[in-house]
Symmetry: C2
Subunit: 493 residues, 2 copies
């Protein structure tokens, strides 16, 4: 089979130059290096390389969780001694110097003088106009603004803004390169201070400051007001999207437009909602695919669920709130049952973000569920908390997982757990996973657990009450019919 | 065992009354009914009940995906003929009539006249002042604004705003009730038009309109500028949070404050950054837990990953972008070095949050790793992308996982994969996981995969080039010594 290690996409450069390695420059370094591009960094600060390397480490960690494919071989990160070294033989130079016109002009002047004529020169400025930055650039047609967002290796948007002398070819080439490293280039149609995203962010930021200034809310309360409400929307859609297609937009503006006249904002200036302007809004929305509002609603809900599930996995913000809510709900839902039957160790509902590329719950989630069930059993045996610290705990040494069906998001499942065999050190158990209202197993897992000493981490006998409960439950479960799959091995029959 | 189904939390009402069943009223109905509260709805519109029922259905579907506990028995939804019927014998009345002061005053006047004195009366108004609404309310001390966000059953924030005559007891009781149905009450400190969240939303909305009006960006571009950049931040944190604790806030304002003076926004008014105001911002931020910026960075990254993974599971927005990016990465990811040895399918570093209560990497993460390795093998066999859609893909039907050692955060691991047997439909493989610089296996996994048809989801023969590659690689691997554990079963020896 072909060795593609040497193949690199046509629109991906081999080497780029970075000027300044702060929060933004370091983020650029991380994104390019991990995408397999060599980076030549110029930053006179003494600890520049450490700070940038830390960002590359953060990004490597984040990508290993975010991406389901292996990253290509990493590019090199080289700290160089001068602007000249940084821009030599590179296809793109990204300047991320402090937001000071004079400083940036000086850096860009030297970089463009020393770089070869073909080298693209881009500035990360958050809001300075490209034409002003361009004034000191040699061959200014290859200069443009490529404005990213912190953390650069995480947030995909990069705003491209042309100055008066920027060539279309330069804009296209830059867009290609940014896209090749996983970013979303957005071309700003008019040269304005702050471009698009920062104008929007600034408007929000100013209003937030007013609310604190006027003591309507505290800093914490302003943040919460956003992240528990429309902030969740903004990860999914911008404010226009909610209106839907062309006519939807017209109706939306007719309904909400008048409110813009209300004194809701310190900042009262607002464009007149003339017929021409409404037509423009509507026509620009017409281009969007027509989706029935019912479809829109469910698509919207699925996105909310997915975002909330994500935050919940971090125990953060609106996600943490859901856990609190569930605890109040759990207080009103049924308890585990034990006795002359297998122990019901777990009931759960399949989250929507457990789906894999086959459109069903991924295999690894089954072991995540069975692992939780094993944990519940250990809790019932008393092998938990204090006991784990003082004596030891059960480690899984083998698992035989069998998939007999598929699970999908929203499915309610139950896990029944049976002890097959037990001795002083070992516990052999069998989990059966069924879908609510269907006794046919969807999956089973046979597991061998070994009791391990808390300090030596070597196998040792279970202690006192735990051992007694293990033997007691094993005795009870000896009365339950043995699952057919117990003791099975994987064979091509 | 006590039957907990009948227990209802003290702060949860048995029945509430809803006035008007539009988008907001219907959302309230869904949230309360699914939390086990009976709802009496008054809405004269002919199809009111259908519209509201549709929202309850949407919410039932969304909750089944969002929550991992079973919902309590649903409350009843009853359409009644008059405001009097809706407010009779209920603990809370929620008014969601059109945003028109006169209409709301009329509805609230009648509702408060007919409700018992203890009944809380709340308005869902998006911005009208409670004191104005309160003027027609009988016993006005039990009236307040409880402003939710659409969809009410999904977004947790509810803004509580007191009018001049509202009693603290009413505010507390309302907060208890909203919290009991999974919401996040936020008390607005001063009575202002638009409260907190809508003032912030309006500021963003106005600036968005200006950008389209001035042709800096189209409707679509404004939305993209948000959802591919800071919109992703806002689901996690508000704008202040990024600054971190007190001193961080001071530094943040010193760094970014001056930019507020730049002409970045059409709406140029901004509070003066006086010493007093900066002190207020800093002191209000002091209350936040002090986290080192390194910790902040990783917590932030984990939240971004979680949110992006969520959107990706929906193939939506920034999540869809990641898939495109992965496809370009896949084209460049290191090809499996096949030959007379097992293929190297994966190298990975163990993330710190994969640890379980035993202080080592949790068992389920091993299958997560082996599942990725299997995915890489499938990519190599060409069972990916187009093929998955048109023909089919390999499903894992059995896994035998053996733990021979422990893994800890930061460990670099490699997975070697060997094909044991293959026929037209089946693929039996063996993964060996080793820690970097140590050939002794830490874990192994034997897996049986079956090729499943894309449409029927039934077992079927692999097609064309994929089948050829399977047999080719199987032939090569037949020359590799068979792992000792292949075909083993779990036994108490």
């Amino acid at each position: 089979m072909p060795d593609t290690l040497t193949i690199s996409l046509p629109n991906l450069p081999n080497t780029i130059g970075l000027l300044a390695g702060g929060a933004i420059g370091g983020g650029w370094a991380a994104r390019f290096v991990l995408n397999g591009v060599n980076v030549r960094l110029y930053d006179p600060a003494p600890n520049a390389l450490d700070r940038v390397s830390q960002q590359v480490n953060n990004a490597r960690r984040a990508y290993s969780r975010l991406l389901s494919v292996a990253l290509p071989p990493e590019g090199s990160l080289t700290l160089v001694d001068s602007i000249g070294d940084a821009v030599k033989d590179v296809e793109l130079v990204q300047e991320s110097a402090p937001e000071d016109l004079k400083i940036k002009q000086k850096v860009l002047a030297e970089a463009s003088k020393l770089a070869s004529r073909e080298t693209l020169i881009c500035s990360s400025t958050s809001g300075l106009r490209p034409t002003a930055l361009q004034s000191t650039v040699t061959y200014p047609e290859r200069f443009l603004v490529g404005h990213p967002f912190n953390p650069v290796y995480m947030l995909p948007l990069v705003e491209l803004c042309a100055g008066e002398e920027t060539s279309p070819e330069s804009m296209n080439r830059a867009a290609e390169i940014y896209q090749a490293v996983g970013m979303r280039p957005l071309v700003v149609r008019k040269e304005v201070d702050g471009f698009v995203a920062n104008r929007l962010q600034e408007a929000l930021w100013r209003e937030a400051l007013w609310l604190v200034h006027d003591e309507v809310a505290t800093v914490e309360e302003v943040d919460d007001a956003i992240r528990f409400s429309f902030g969740l929307r903004r990860a999914i859609n911008g404010p226009f999207r909610m209106a839907g297609g062309g006519d939807g937009m017209r109706r939306y503006m007719e309904q909400w437009g008048p409110m813009l006249q209300w004194p809701w904002s310190k900042l009262s200036e607002v464009p007149g909602l003339t017929k021409d302007f409404l037509d423009k809004l509507a026509s620009q929305s017409d281009s969007r695919e027509a989706v029935s509002s019912a479809e829109l609603e469910q698509q919207r809900d699925d996105c909310y669920v997915a975002v909330l599930q994500g935050l919940r996995s971090q125990g953060y913000g609106a996600g943490a709130l859901i856990e609190d809510w569930e605890n109040t709900l759990r207080a009103r839902s049924p308890q585990l049952t034990s006795g002359e039957v297998a122990v019901e160790t777990l009931t759960l509902q399949m989250p929507s973000d457990w789906v894999d590329s086959n459109g069903h719950i991924n295999e690894s989630r089954y072991l995540e569920v069975f692992s939780k069930a094993t944990g519940m059993l250990e809790d019932q045996l008393g092998a938990q908390g204090e006991y784990k610290v003082v004596h030891g705990s059960y480690y899984t040494v083998e698992t035989h997982l069998s998939h007999l069906g598929e699970l999908f998001p929203g499915d309610h499942i139950t896990v029944l757990t049976q002890i097959l065999d037990a001795d002083k050190k070992r516990l052999r158990i069998f989990h059966t996973l069924t879908r609510e209202g269907d006794c046919k197993p969807v999956a089973t897992a046979e597991q061998m657990l070994i009791h391990v000493d808390a300090t030596s981490r070597r196998a040792c006998a279970a202690k006192g009450a735990v051992r007694e409960r293990v033997f007691e439950l094993a005795r009870i479960h000896a009365g339950i019919p043995r699952p057919a799959r117990a003791g099975a091995s994987i064979q091509m029959r």
